[in-house]
């Protein structure tokens, strides 16, 4: 159905897979060496590293309880009175009199959690579907091929629905919560991962070493698990890095549509940004802190992912 899109994905797969063919063991080492020289990769890695550190230590270094409305009586959101940055509150107060700085650094963890869990859900489920489809299609005979066709048609249909709407539908089903955001964004990524892994595995399945393995009679299951699968994960892992960025942005969009994390106990950047839209003219800083957080973090993951992709792609590499 979406042949063109499929071709594009498959091209990525092919590119990465053929790089893999060249010399499997040292490929990652190679690309890591190459990435060490790339300003894109370095910038990305620094941002991601910083973000992860903040996310891990955030709750311990936050000066205040991010949920306590300690200064609640100083904020009048109906009169546009939002105390800005000052000695005790570096980023000022939010609309309920909570310390914005503490919310930002504690929020980093929730934001990372949303991204990671959502990506993980998409990855696992997508990899499972794509893997089963590819395995069935390659080794399952005629019925296997039919199975594969059915699975992939379903994936195509899912691909046809814009990611945001897919996430929206899931979120509507489960009711608003942080868990919902994770599942919704994760589910929306499943088709991409499925498509990608299947393409990648098929490319591997037709490679010479697999034919050789079949020829010498290695059991099919073992070929899939110990040969095809590990060699097919490259593009999927790259995609995972990029999806992390998307997941964080999608989570923010869900919040904007009112389907985000409504739990005041766990500040999260997407929700903070969506909440602050109301005060954009009166207190733009409330929106800008989380927006910058989201943008920079997403950029970090994207840079890293793109750098990885480029370093794995032999067509781009040969021109270096």
């Amino acid at each position: 159905m979406t042949i063109a899109k499929i071709e594009k994905l498959d091209r990525l797969v092919e590119a990465t897979a053929s790089a893999r063919d060249a010399r499997t063991g040292s490929l990652w080492r190679q690309s890591i060496r190459r990435m060490r020289r790339s300003p894109m990769a370095i910038t990305g890695a620094v941002i991601v590293g910083l973000f992860v550190v903040v996310a891990v230590v955030g709750p311990w270094v936050a000066p205040y309880d991010p949920t306590a409305q300690t200064w609640g009586r100083e904020v009048f959101l109906n009169q546009n009175i939002f105390p800005g940055p000052r000695a005790e509150n570096w980023f000022g107060l939010d609309h309920l009199g909570r310390d914005m700085f503490s919310r930002m650094i504690v929020g980093a963890r929730q934001t990372l959690l949303v991204g990671v869990v959502a990506t993980f859900i998409g990855f696992i489920a997508g990899a499972f579907i794509g893997g089963v489809a590819a395995a069935a299609g390659t080794f399952g005979g005629r019925w296997g091929e039919r199975c594969e066709a059915v699975i992939m048609r379903a994936v195509d249909v899912a691909l046809a629905i814009p990611m945001l709407l897919l996430a929206l539908s899931v979120a509507a089903l489960l009711g608003p919560s942080l868990r919902t955001v994770m599942i919704a964004v994760g589910v929306a990524q499943i088709p991409i991962f499925a498509r990608l892994l299947r393409g990648s595995m098929l490319a591997q399945a037709h490679s010479d070493y697999v034919l050789a393995a079949i020829a010498i009679g290695v059991p099919k299951g073992r070929i899939v698990v110990s040969h095809i699968l590990p060699n097919s994960l490259g593009p999927v892992i790259v995609q995972a890095t990029l999806v992390l960025a998307t997941a964080i942005i999608e989570a923010a969009a869900l919040s904007y549509l009112g389907l985000g994390n409504p739990d005041p106990g766990s500040p999260e950047w997407g929700t903070m940004l969506a909440d602050a839209q109301r005060f954009l003219s009166g207190a733009p800083q409330l929106a800008i802190y989380p927006a910058v957080g989201i943008i920079v973090t997403a950029l970090g993951f994207t840079l890293l992912g793109e750098a990885m992709r480029e370093s794995l792609d032999p067509r781009l590499r040969r021109q270096e």
């Binding site: 629905i161 089903l173 960025a245 942005i249 040969r318």
Partner: protein
């Protein structure tokens, strides 16, 4: 070609049937019935029950699905919970606005993205390249609703250069032909209206174009880098052709293949972006409608939209694949 098209259409209807089942299941599984959306909070339980019964929500699921399907085939997606009007009508009325916005956004994305991507590829490694690539990556990282809001605050509110909302100044007197205001204004000779419409289009189209622009820049860059390394470009150089001829006939014509694919695919995703953009600018297209449907949990409307967009997306894909044949003679022969 014809057989291929027919085969694709057949596959498509099977896929859409599957989608309808999925959507129906989703709709049924949603918590809270529409009666809660339709009635004020003070309505009595009895009134709610009455409405449930009247809406046929107590019938067996398969009867409901049959009814649902037979309606969809007749392009009847039911009535919107918030307006009470047929969803198909609502969507049809709002389609031109979104089409116009999407086209404008695509125009910006293509018009800027291809030259920028080409430039980045040409000057690979220069600051232009770095700036363009990181700019385009940044473009994909800004939540679109935030970008739209910021554009509006800066250019419409603070600087006052452009209008903040609507497709035309309220009360403007115009002749409707296709529903694409700029186009209509031009063909009916109402140039004032066309200009007004253009002004109203700029900001939302800019916001909406951010992601396609970023994608097109990167695809163009990658694609040009790919093509520029091809032997036939060297052949063209060896012929001593003018750089412009090499660029146009040899580099870009080949580089356009993946770009065209991506443009087609992006059109589908524009609709999702329009949901977030149109609401910020009260643009009044399908996006606004869906935003409203979302915030008000008007699920029948959402369902109708998803079906329409799935069909749209699938058709676009078909067109892209077919146009691939036009662009690439190799594919043409194979099919």
């Amino acid at each position: 070609m014809l057989r291929y098209t027919v085969k694709r259409l057949l596959q498509l209807s099977v896929a859409l049937l599957g989608l309808s089942l999925l959507l129906f299941a989703w709709f049924k599984a949603l918590p809270g019935g529409p009666e809660n959306r339709l009635l004020p909070e003070n309505a009595t339980d009895q009134q709610r029950e009455a409405l449930r019964a009247a809406l046929g929500l107590d019938e067996p699921v398969w009867t409901q699905y049959g009814e649902f399907l037979s309606r969809i085939v007749r392009l009847d997606f039911g009535s919107s919970l918030s307006s009470g009007r047929p969803i198909a009508t609502e969507l049809a009325e709002r389609l031109p606005a979104t089409v116009e916005l999407s086209l404008a956004a695509m125009l910006i994305a293509v018009g800027l993205g291809i030259p920028l991507g080409y430039l980045a590829a040409k000057r690979r490694g220069s600051w232009i390249d770095f700036g363009t690539v990181s700019g385009s990556l940044l473009g994909t990282c800004i939540p679109i609703f935030f970008l739209a809001a910021m554009l509006k605050v800066v250019f419409a509110q603070e600087l006052g250069w452009l209008p903040t909302t609507f497709r035309l100044t309220a009360g403007a007197d115009f002749t409707e032909v296709t529903g694409l205001r700029v186009f209509d204004g031009l063909i009916t000779g109402e140039f004032g209206i066309a200009w007004d419409a253009v002004q109203h289009l700029i900001l939302p189209a800019l916001a909406l174009s951010s992601i396609p622009l970023a994608v097109i820049v990167r695809i163009t860059r990658a694609s040009v880098l790919d093509v520029v390394g091809e032997d036939y470009v060297r052949t063209a150089d060896a012929k001593g052709l003018k750089p412009s001829t090499v660029r146009g006939r040899h580099v870009m014509r080949n580089a356009m293949l993946p770009i065209a694919t991506i443009i087609g695919l992006l059109l589908g995703s524009l609709f999702a972006g329009a949901v977030l953009t149109e609401s910020v600018f009260a643009f009044g297209g399908i996006g606004s409608f869906v935003y409203q449907a979302t915030t008000e949990r008007d699920y029948p409307a959402l369902m109708g939209f998803i079906l329409v967009i799935a069909v749209f997306y699938v058709v676009i894909n078909l067109l892209v694949d077919l146009s691939y044949g036009l662009l690439d003679p190799r594919v043409r022969v194979r099919k």
